[in-house]
Amino acid sequence: MNFKHKYMFLLPGLLVLLGILIFPIGFTVRLSLSSWDSFFPGLDFIGLENYVRLFTDDARFWESFQRLSFLSITTVFLQYILGFSLALMVWKDIVFQRFFRVLFLIPMMTTPVIMTVIWKTVFHESLGPVNDFFSLFGMTPLWLSSEGLSKVTVIIVEVWQWTPFMFLLLLAGLLSLPKEPFLAASIDGAGPIRKFVYVTFPLMAPISIGAIIIRLIEASKIMDTVYVLTSGGPGTSSETSSFYIFIKGLREFQFGYSAALSLTYLIIMIISLTVIAKMLVKLMIRS
């Protein structure tokens, strides 16, 4: 279909979005070419200096990127596996089905920043219940303050918070699957594992890809969790890109520089998400 009316459908949304964003984005681009900071708030012009600094003299930014990749890919992978397993479990043949489904959805309804404060008390090394348990075995793992474990803690909290999102999308997908292929597989005498590998999983591939991409987009903003749990510490060991940008922008007020960081981040994210999406499509559809 092709009518001139089509613009009347697209444009309200697009124009509102553009209208609200055009100034902020344009301003950010301009900002990234200036040295705006706490002391000189103003749009002077320094050319690409911020970008040069970013590419030649900011190892911390690139380290935070690596960390972000590690954290987001790990959490999304875990969320996918767990979300899929849970969806399969409450898909059918289970008592209290409704209860479990609602329960499994709840974490995603909570405000991450608030729940993370609760998690922080849960993982509190000397006053929290987790170490109270571990102390039975004479251990006091440093959940928030050791380099390796603090990442694990961030992952646990992220998994708790966002597995329900995967769970919801995948369960909805499972419930909309056609019945025939399963029937056919049953007739062929396929067991549950073969059924999953040859029927369920391939049928779920498109939904899986969509869910993973959306989660990756969201996970790449991992911030609330880090902000509350570890403030990026100890050292810089749990600092992610958006948190680093936050520090440069709203802590140190190097706005010009943080604008350059943000735009670079945005472009890298858009490119890498597109590539990941393409790779996933290849991988999942082929298998």
């Binding site: 090394e125 510490g233 100890p234 709203l250």
Partner: protein, 511 residues
């Protein structure tokens, strides 16, 4: 000089205590000031009730409840009742106070008439703030403020921020442990040293290590050596500077502590600082589990809850420990920060082998009026009312308020003994220690108050936390900080930083 202050203090205090007996009409209406009643002054309840700000609105950005946030809201309510003004109070977590105010400042907006913040924001904020008018600077209420706190709130002789709170770092220790003859004997036997209030950081470390990881107060829980702010956040740098002053602030070497004022080269990676950071890394062994991630709140909880032997940052942990419902009330003592047996002399590049101790005049809570506000009179009246004698006396008695002494009249032990039931020995120790820091010392360090202060402090936090986490050695970490500082200086401009820094150095060098 010391003596005259003491005498004048006594006079003021006497009058305050005298007022206690007679509740007046204001204390009936405002139970908050029931101890003192209204205290006469330009910004007293009486004076404020004569002002009429009805129909006007005052917007204040302050800290979260309760620390500073609760008194802000309480005094706002009182102010509103007295003057008819509408006062809108916003509460913001400490780490975001700077940005919450800076964003509108930089965007040329004035959503807040009054902004609460820390004294070291002064250089970045100064261009957006309205200096305190002479009539407030000259009033008796302000004359009572200690010189340190006048200095902290002023820029080049001009008062920019309004003193509403006093802050400092000092040593807090478990008096019941240090004074325990049994432990003293045991300690002597095992280490060969006396168990006493630590005079140096090395002694501090030895005692903290000795008392780390066993149940020395027989409550069934393990206790530890020390609770410190080690979390990589906005307060971390202050903890580090408190530990480094003794090694790095040499009374014989003027011309800068953080930078060499002439060259603007960072001194932060000098041997004095490295020594302090080495001590600090050592300290990770005698903090409670997770202590390396403690923020100020955790420190307060930990020491205030009786978990550790020492703690050395702001008043809060001590005040928490001395609250009525505290299990360790009257079991804690106060002393100046530990010193060192030697101090680095950067002019002849060698250690001066002598005892050195220097207070770090820590930045603390202040408030200021936005230049862009259209209600300067009302705003200053509010701040003045916040800090009037009656309110201040009542506020410092409430631990969670986070309002601490900054007036000469505060340094009288009787106030604490009578009003708060402190042990007289502890109360005297407290008053004397604070007074000595405020008025006595000539060898002291002011916080870094330069443009882009957050960038400098953030670099410190990043570098030292890498060292604490074992990612880097102390020297490497501080070299990294110094390199970062150089870049920041270069970005902002060496002259700009120098100009701002020289204001602080002039105070340090007692010029």
């Amino acid at each position: 000089m010391n003596k005259t202050i003491r005498i004048s203090t006594m006079v003021v205090t006497a009058s305050l205590l005298a007022a206690t007996a007679q509740a007046d009409k204001w204390s009936d209406q405002f139970p908050h000031i029931k101890n003192t009643g209204d205290v006469a002054g330009e910004c007293s309840y009486e004076s404020m009730s004569k002002k009429d700000y009805s129909g006007q609105k005052l917007t204040i950005n302050t800290h979260a409840v309760p620390v500073i946030g609760e008194p802000t809201a309480l005094h706002a309510q009182q102010f509103s009742k007295l003057t008819g003004a509408e006062v809108n109070v916003i509460h913001t977590p400490a780490g975001d106070l700077y940005s919450k105010a800076m964003i509108p400042f930089q965007a040329g907006q004035a959503p807040y008439d009054i902004v609460f913040g820390f004294s070291n924001f002064i250089r970045d904020w100064k261009q957006y703030l309205q200096p305190v008018p002479a009539k407030y600077v000259n009033m008796p209420q302000m004359q009572d403020v200690t010189q340190s706190h006048i200095d902290v709130n002023s820029w080049d002789g001009e008062m920019i921020q309004f003193p509403i709170d006093g802050d400092r770092h000092y040593l807090k220790y478990r008096k019941d442990v240090i004074d325990n003859p049994e432990y003293q004997a045991k300690y002597k036997a095992e280490t060969g040293n006396e168990l006493r209030i630590p005079r140096t950081w090395k002694e501090y470390a030895e005692m903290a290590t000795f008392f780390n990881g066993w149940d020395w107060d027989n409550d069934g829980e393990l206790e530890y050596g020390s609770a410190e702010v080690m979390k990589k956040d906005d307060l971390m740098f202050a903890a580090f500077f408190s530990r480094s002053v003794a090694y790095a602030k040499n009374p014989r070497v003027p011309g800068g502590y953080f930078f060499d004022l002439e060259t603007m080269e960072p001194l932060i990676n000098g041997p004095g600082f490295v020594e302090a950071l080495t001590d600090w890394v050592e300290a990770t062994k005698y903090v409670p589990p997770g202590g390396i991630n403690f923020g100020l709140g955790d420190e307060i909880n930990s020491f205030g809850g009786g978990q550790t032997l020492f703690s050395f940052s702001w008043d809060d942990a001590f005040v928490a420990a001395m609250q009525d419902d505290s299990p360790i009330k009257n079991k804690v003592g106060v002393a100046p920060l530990p010193g060192s047996d030697r101090v680095w002399n950067r002019s002849n590049k060698s250690w001066d082998m002598e005892y050195n101790q220097a207070p770090y005049i820590v930045w603390g809570w202040t408030a200021a009026v936005a230049k862009a506000s259209k209600k300067h009179d009302m705003a200053f009246d509010y701040l003045c009312f916040f800090a009037n004698d009656a309110n201040h006396q009542a506020d410092i008695a409430i631990g969670r308020f986070g309002v601490n002494p900054f007036k000469k009249s505060d340094f009288d032990a009787d106030i604490y003994i009578e009003r708060q039931g402190w042990d007289p020995i502890i109360a005297n120790q407290y008053a004397d220690t604070l007074m000595e820091m405020e008025e006595g010392s000539t060898n002291r360090v002011f916080p870094l108050r330069v443009p882009g202060v957050f960038q400098f402090n953030s670099a410190i936090a990043t570098g030292t936390s890498k060292a604490l986490a074992g990612q880097l050695s102390p020297q490497e970490a501080l070299d990294e900080v110094a390199a970062e500082w150089k870049k920041i200086v270069k970005r902002i401009g060496a002259d700009t930083v120098r100009e701002a820094y020289s204001v602080g150095v002039a105070l340090e060098d007692n010029l």
